[in-house]
């Protein structure tokens, strides 16, 4: 028994090292004094300072943030509507098809999503003149497609668990259906909405492939800028930027996980 637990501990440590050693080394080297990325030259935060004086990076961060905010919100709206249709409506034809279609972006290769969206935007522009060119708007729409898929999965699981009699109780006490939705349903599924929103937000912030396909001039997201910088050679300020992104992304994921965890505890009682 003791032997087994020691073995498990070793396997666990090896696994974590494998996963997190590169990230850790990146964070450490972001505090490197030296201009050479692989040679340690003492502790310094100068690359962080350099980063905040780089207008290209700051612009890209602002673009990314706006896209992430908008697409996460759009994802939640689409995801909620889809979840209600799938969970609450009585069986209808093609329900299974719809359910598969809403979750398809989870497993679809990003390259294909990006390419197909690009083709669609180009075709739409030549047919109806909208969207005029590619930029922030098209990235928001593109990110919402897979953001909504993640959001729908999370919201659906919450809706399935929800006791329907809570809504019936509100109806019984004199609330009209719309009122019931805002007074009872929405607060009960709120934790799922929040964690879905955070997940969609993080995914949008991280995405490079889809954004590269559907973006246009003047709408470079942060991952796109980093990628183009790295192609010219890794510079230490990219390390600093990556460290910040890792911090923000893990914060988002931790909050989302805590929210889900807490809400499932409350609903179990």
């Amino acid at each position: 028994m003791k032997r087994k637990s020691r073995f498990l501990a070793i396997v666990g440590v090896v696994g974590f090292v494998f996963l997190y050693a590169p990230i850790l080394s990146l964070v450490i080297f972001s505090f490197n004094e030296s201009r050479l990325v692989t040679v340690w030259g003492g502790f310094s935060t100068k690359w962080y300072g350099e980063l905040f004086r780089d207008p290209q990076i700051l612009d890209a961060a602002w673009v990314s943030l706006r896209i992430a905010l908008a697409s996460a919100t759009l994802s939640i709206v689409i995801g909620t509507v889809a979840s209600f249709v799938l969970i609450r409506f009585q069986r209808f034809r093609s329900k299974t098809l719809l359910s598969m279609m809403i979750t398809a972006p989870l497993v679809m290769p990003e390259v294909i999503i990006g390419l197909s969206l690009l083709l669609m935007f180009v075709a739409m522009e030549s047919l109806i003149g909208w969207p005029g060119g590619r930029g922030i708007l098209t990235i928001i729409i593109a990110h919402s497609t897979f953001g909504a898929a993640y959001a729908a999965v999370i919201i659906q699981s919450r809706l399935v668990d929800m006791d329907l009699s809570i809504e019936e109780a509100a109806l019984d006490l004199g609330a009209r259906p719309v009122r019931v939705f805002f007074d009872v349903t929405l607060p009960v599924i709120a934790p799922a909405l929040l964690s879905g929103w955070l997940l969609a937000f993080t995914l949008s912030l991280d995405d490079l492939v889809v954004a590269s396909f559907v973006s246009g001039p003047g709408a470079s997201t942060l991952p796109m800028v980093i990628f183009s910088k790295v192609r010219l050679g890794v510079s230490p300020d990219v390390n600093a930027l990556a460290a910040i992104i890792i911090g923000v992304a893990s914060l988002g994921i931790i909050i989302a996980a805590l929210q889900l965890n807490r809400s499932s505890k409350v609903s179990q009682q």
Partner: protein
Amino acid sequence: MSEVISSSDARPWTDPNAVPFLQIKNVTKKFGAFTSVYDVSLDIYKGEIFCLLGGSGCGKSTLLRMLSGFEAPTSGQIIIDGQDQAGIPPYNRPTNMMFQTYALFPHMTVEKNIAYGLKRDGLPKAEIATRVTDILSLVQMEGFARRKPHQLSGGQRQRVALARSLVKKPKLLLLDEPLGALDKKLREETQFELIKIQESLGVTFVVVTHDQEEAMTLSSRIGVMTAGEIVQVGTPREIYEYPRNRFVADFIGSVNIFEGRIAEDGESHVIVASPEAGLDIYVPHSISGVIGQKVAVAVRPEKVMISKDDLGGLRNKLTGTVDEIAYMGDASVYQIRLDNGKRVRVTQTNLTRSEESTLNYGDRVNLGWDGSAGVVVTS
């Protein structure tokens, strides 16, 4: 009809001039090809606690949901206080419901839960506050107004759910397995409290339950349901002592059933020849049957006498061997095997503490019951 009628001393269903408060007329509910409730007609009077009793899937909950407006009858009519409820949504009905799961709003405090219905009616804030305080003291939950539901025990949640459904002073309160989630001890206490609250408010209760004990203690009348139909309506005593058919006899309490055929159908008695009992059973009430018709006699275990000595002048007597004994404290349950193999269940109150007079495994015993203890049940 405005005065409060206490359910314990009024028997409005025996008065031919009384106007029923709730009328269910030939209500049928079908879900696709499945018939959940079939041709149910009931008259329920003001101030009653009426229990719908039946096993799971018998349609009792569906019937309740039709009263509250969550389901619409496929055919038939529901009239509450003279008003046809067809097409009226739940939020406009004069009913409130207490849900089996209590269905408290998890994100609201006890206070807000109870006030929710009053706010929807647009009552002034001051009145809402006093009514919430009043109802909280009625269910003895004054100290819990600011708690959230997940900070309460099962019994406390049950009280809050009851308070929330009563605070709007509904004409008709519907309770779905109100005590189902409580443990036995708490359940017994709550039953009597529920009756007290009902009597003090004069609200008409319709209770759905699968627990016959709960139905017996709570109700003024019971409607026994099976397979979507009402099989018998009566007071708890009527249901227990005069079950109309074998299902009712078997469902409420335990019972010994002796199959047989009518051998003699007199003016005031029936004799049922029962090869199963090895006896011509005498029953002192007449039935409308024909000689030779298959019937059964139901005898409650506590009405069967048992002794090693002769039982004297009882009308129906048998002999058998003690097969099993279950000591339950207040009473003992004996399984007696008759000579033809049929087993009879006998309950005896343990009047003394000594073991001397008790029966042992394998003892030869005499069994018997007075004529009036048996009831003829058909079908």
